[in-house]
Amino acid sequence: MTQPVGSRLPLAVLRKITLHPFGPFGHSKGMAIASDKGASDLAELVRDYQAGVWRYLRFLGADESLCDDLTQETFLAVWKKPFVDHAPAATRQYLRTVARNLYLMSLRKRGRQPTLERIELADEVWQELAGDDEESMLEALRECVEMLNGRARQAIDLCYRNNRSRAGIGREMELSDDGVKSLLRRTRELLRRCVEEKRSAEQ
């Protein structure tokens, strides 16, 4: 099974990374092309935060290739502006803001009128559920999944591990499509509560 990028790239606890204040182009005032120091800072920033940005964009509704593009654009946009990585939480928040704006722009470019309320609510939900520690959330979820049993576990495994369609799951479990949908939704709800409990207990 492929490991999440985040799990291979432990987050820096607190770090101060100073990127080149004006990025490679020089925003203005004729600044020089990015130095090696700037490039390495960017590499570190990307390594630490790209998974979170990508997940966030995916959560907002972008498809995978758009997530790739927008994640790239996000880091490039941040890089060319004066930016100081004071604290991971603030950096994450800043990156998410940039990513969200880029996503909204991409929607508008494609002639879609995004609902700001929805995006804001999505942001709020993301903050509540993932918070600043997605890795611990995933770990808690992994433990909660292990605790599942019976038909709920069977449905989750068929859907996510075996990548079976809803109809396929329905055939195997003798449920209608709606029944499968409902069962999966209910189980996800259970898992979400379990994760919340685990994380609040940890805190």
Partner: protein, 966 residues
């Protein structure tokens, strides 16, 4: 607010879904570090290239060929102008710069083009070609600008002809760009045209609407006009995409007159699916309760408590489908929080259950709270009337008839041949209308008509009709056809009236030990939730269903007689007479050997679990009771009959059980063929002095072969003379032919039981196995002679189809009922004492005779004399009659024995179900009260069940009355 809540839930769900995809499905964020870093390093060039491509695409879409030069230039580092001018002179910066001047947007798009182009002059020059190509390009541009695309296409082709065919050469690339440009612009133009056409069509359609006459709003044109319109749309200018274009309706749609419209709607109603099922009492109660107001005041209360609250408040049955809830991940103790007052129960349930993604289903026996997926599993079978398609089609076959006094049978046969349709006449039913096979038919048609109309013309004057059955027709009396529509078939019961003792001093009847009617009534009321049809209620079978505490005979007589008289509970001035017979008990070890033939109907209609599978289980119960010297054979019948198990000794129980288990239902029903084979088998292994019995298990739906009731009765009657008795066990409901089965049992020296449950099977085949296996007396007849001094009139309650003319009492050739070992038989008479007014008309006084004078015996205090006649099981002549004189004990009803009172209550229940004219002031409440007080010893709980039955019937009757009053 709720939208926001739903959206939040959706987002939360999506978040978990995404995390699970990552965690379990491996859809992790990719590592984009390299990509981002490489994008950051040559950022300027990357941005520049992206911008160039974007701008070029914009230009291409708007201004034409110049863009192709730009792209060409970007990729090949050579400008079109260079190509165009190379033949005469070397390209200069000025020449290169000229192109952007002519194509403003391109020039503005990227100011660095000129320099780039200048520094990347191509060395490929072909003298003579390039000037021509340049000229053609100019011409192409001009034509495109003027939107003369067809001509531009010709120019592009010419350019392609002169350009050298070397892949990658600048000339080839220019030509390719010309073609691409042409294709792109042409396509854009096509789309524009289509868009315009759509718009025009839409506007024209809207305009067309205003021309419709509001007075005649719905008028469709005739079919040919529709076809013409459809065809015209197919030749719309832009070929492939036109079929979806809206067009004005020209001419406008003409709708029919309102009357025609109404007629069409009415016709559709006729074919509307008809739900033949009726609501049970509980269903009706729940449906009414759903509209009642209720209050919600729950904070974190378990679902079970909430359900309990609704159950008590609305007095309805609610169950929780815990398995379905568990599948959904909802516990029965899921917390519920809701506060709302004065809403309907329906809304309250919707709110509460909606939160938990649950729903409810209303069933006959109560409401079930389940998941949405669970609700799909709780589907209910409903019956819809369907026509038999093949027969219906054949009924349209045109026929022409000309008959004069031709027998009906011949006419029907001819019609059947013409329409290639099997038509059968049920002569026993037709006889009710005094129609026989030879009834003359005279009909002369002047033209061809459909077979259906011809049949109607022939049958209607004879009060006959037909039903479609198994791809053919069955002609019956119109009344029977209507009864057929109710599926279960019952013979009509006309209650015995009061008879004047003066005119009818003798009352004679044959005993009956059948109990099928009670089991059927119970099934209707408790399982189907409806009152039984009156003709399904045979009061004597209801009374005889119960055991009464009669003492068995203490002498050689096969049965003991017990008579009791007391006041009548529903007509206080009248008397109620009870005659009870108790058959001699035969201990199991003294039981003679039995030769049994199980005759099982395995036709398709026996497939449901309450039919063949239940019959098999019942037979297995009986097999368990068999001894080693008994024998069992199994005959099955469907389309054909066969011997599933040859006569086998009773000790081979496993073999018999295995043969029973291997039976499966399927096919049509040729009952007659099976009955013949069963009797043949029984005769073949006949045990002299033993019990020889065919046990027929069927739903009575005979539909192939000699299956008219009359023919089957004759067949059975004939075979019964050979000393083989018959037990008929009925199964299932819906197409149960009660009428036929009762007659078969009657004619076949047998008894008839209906098995509606496993408990009933056990009662008939285990507890009362002695009665089933051992007959102690046959053709038992009772005759009562009433004393006219004390009795004015009498009425036999029930036994309507067992009443015999007085002379048959002494006629041994006349068949009557049989009594098995341990059987109890009870008969009730209602008597009007002399001196009480009688409410029936009496005949005029005779002109030539005087009424009989009273004998001395009449002066005694004897109410009546009861005579009982019977034959030994293997005898052909009756034994000496038993005679019992009965006196009036002048007991009030409540001083009578408990069994007397209980039997009266059961008979009263039957009268209420039949809506009898003699019910007097009897009510369900009174019946229940009597029955409850006289339950007595009831080890099997059958008497308590009866009380429950009365209560349920009372509720159903109240509902029926409510519906009537509405």
């Amino acid at each position: 607010m709720s939208e926001q809540h739903e959206l939040r839930q959706e987002l939360e769900d999506r978040h978990t879904d995404q995390a699970l995809q990552e965690l379990l499905g491996g859809r992790c964020p990719p590592d984009l570090t390299t990509r981002i870093l490489s994008a950051a390093r040559p950022a300027r060039r990357w941005r520049s290239r992206r911008r160039q491509v974007a701008l070029a695409a914009t230009v291409l879409a708007t201004v034409g060929i110049a863009a192709s030069y730009v792209i060409y230039h970007r990729h090949q580092r050579a400008s079109a102008s260079q190509i165009a001018t190379n033949s005469t002179a070397a390209p200069t910066k000025h020449d290169v710069a000229q192109l952007p001047d002519k194509n403003e947007p391109t020039t503005n798009a990227d100011g660095g083009n000129a320099n780039d182009a200048a520094t990347s002059q191509s060395g490929s020059q072909t003298n003579g070609i390039r000037p021509k190509l340049a000229a053609l390009v100019d011409e192409f541009n001009k034509l495109m600008h003027e939107r003369r695309f067809a001509e531009a296409q010709v120019v592009a082709k010419r350019a392609a002809e002169i350009a050298p065919e070397s892949p990658g050469s600048p000339e080839t690339l220019v030509v390719q760009q010309l073609k691409l440009q042409l294709r792109m612009v042409s396509r854009t133009e096509d789309y524009r045209k289509i868009r315009d056409v759509k718009q025009e069509g839409y506007v024209a359609g809207l305009n067309g609407i205003s021309t419709v006459d509001d007075q005649r709003p719905y008028q469709f044109g005739d079919l040919r006009e529709w076809r013409r319109l459809t065809q015209s749309r197919k030749v719309y200018p832009v070929a492939d995409l036109t079929t979806k274009l809206p067009t004005a309706d020209e001419p406008s749609i003409l709708y029919p007159d309102p009357e025609v419209w109404r007629m069409l709607a009415d016709r559709r109603k006729k074919y509307k699916a008809v739900d033949l099922s009726e609501q049970s009492a509980m269903e009706a109660k729940i449906l009414a309760a759903l509209d009642e107001r209720t209050d919600l005041d729950f904070s974190e209360q378990p679902l079970t408590d909430v359900v309990e609250y609704f159950k008590q408040r609305h007095d309805i049955e609610i169950q929780i489908d815990s398995k379905a809830l568990s599948d959904e991940g909802v516990g029965t103790d899921a917390p519920v929080t809701r506060h709302s007052n004065g809403i309907t129960l329906r809304s309250a349930l919707k709110l509460l259950l909606g939160d938990l993604e649950l729903t409810y289903v209303i069933r006959k026996d109560g409401m079930m709270i389940t998941s949405k997926a669970g609700a799909e599993r709780l589907l209910e079978a409903r019956a819809y009337e369907l026509m038999d398609n093949s027969a219906t089609k054949r009924l349209r076959t045109p026929v022409w008839l000309k008959y004069k006094n031709v027998p009906l049978k011949q006419v029907v046969e001819d019609l059947g041949k013409l329409a290639q349709l099997p038509i059968q006449i049920d002569f026993s039913s037709a006889a009710k209308e005094k129609v026989t096979a030879d009834t003359p038919i005279t009909i002369e048609l002047t033209s061809e008509i459909s077979t259906k109309s011809a049949l109607d013309l022939v049958l209607q004057p004879l009060h006959l009709s037909y039903v479609v059955e198994n791809g053919g027709l069955r002609i019956r009396s119109t009344i029977d056809c209507v009864v057929d529509a109710n599926h279960d078939r019952y013979s009509r019961i006309i209650e015995n009236p009061f008879l004047s003792v003066g005119e009818h001093p003798l009352s004679t009847f044959g005993v009956d030990v059948d109990t099928a009617s009670y089991a059927k009534v119970r099934r209707y009321i408790l399982q189907e939730g409806e009152l039984p049809p009156p003709d399904a209620v045979r009061i004597e079978e209801l009374v005889n269903y119960f055991d009464y505490d009669y003492a068995p005979p203490d002498n050689d007589v096969p049965f003991a007689t017990h008579v009791e008289v007391a006041a009548c509970p529903w007509q206080a001035e009248n008397k109620l007479l009870r005659i009870g017979l108790k058959g001699r008990e035969v201990p199991e070890e003294e039981r003679p050997a039995a030769n049994l033939v199980f005759l099982l109907d395995v036709s398709g209609s026996m497939e449901p679990d309450d039919r063949l599978p239940r019959a098999v289980r019942a037979m297995r119960l009986l097999v368990e009771r068999l001894r080693e010297n008994d024998r069992v054979a199994i005959v099955v019948y469907a389309g054909e009959s066969g011997l599933a198990l040859p006569s086998t000794a009773g000790f081979q129980k496993e073999r018999i059980a295995s043969a029973l288990d291997s039976l499966h239902a399927g096919g049509s029903t040729n009952g007659a063929s099976g009955i013949r084979l069963a009797y043949d088998t029984a005769q073949e292994h006949f045990i002299k002095g033993g019990t020889n019995r065919v046990i027929l298990c069927t739903d009575g739906d005979f539909n192939v072969g000699a299956t008219s009731a009359g023919e089957l009765e004759l067949l059975i009657e004939e075979r019964a003379k050979g000393g083989v008795f018959l037990t008929v066990l009925g199964f299932g409901i819906g197409n149960h032919n009660d009428e036929l089965m009762e007659k078969l049992a009657d004619k076949g020296n047998g008894n008839y039981g209906y098995i509606d449950s496993e408990a009933e099977a056990r009662k008939l085949l285990v507890e009362q196995a002695g009665g089933t296996l051992v007959t102690i007396a046959k053709d038992v007849k009772a005759q009562l002679e009433f004393n006219p001094r004390l009795v004015a009139a009498y009425r036999l309650i029930g036994y309507e189809d067992r009443v015999l003319p007085p002379e048959d009492f002494n006629n041994d050739k006349k068949d009557a009922g049989d009594i098995g070992a341990g059987h109890t038989v009870t008969a009730l008479y209602e008597l009007i004492p002399a001196g009480q007014p009688v409410n029936f008309p009496e005949a005029d006084e005779l002109k030539y005779q005087r009424p009989a004078v009273l004998t001395e015996a009449a002066a005694s205090d004897e109410l009546l004399t009861l005579k009982l006649k019977y034959k030994q099981p293997d005898g052909q002549e009756s034994e000496k009659p038993l005679i019992v004189s009965v006196r009036d004990s002048k007991l009030s009803f409540d001083r009578a024995t408990a069994d007397f009172q209980y039997a009266a209550a059961v008979a009263g229940f039957g009268m209420l179900l039949r809506d009898s004219q003699f019910r007097g002031n009897l009510t369900y409440g009174a019946v229940r009260e009597i029955a409850e007080q006289t339950i007595g010893r009831d080890p099997q709980g059958r008497r308590k069940e009866f009380v429950q039955l009365v209560r349920q019937a009372s509720a159903l009757d109240a509902r029926r009355m409510n519906q009537k009053s509405k």
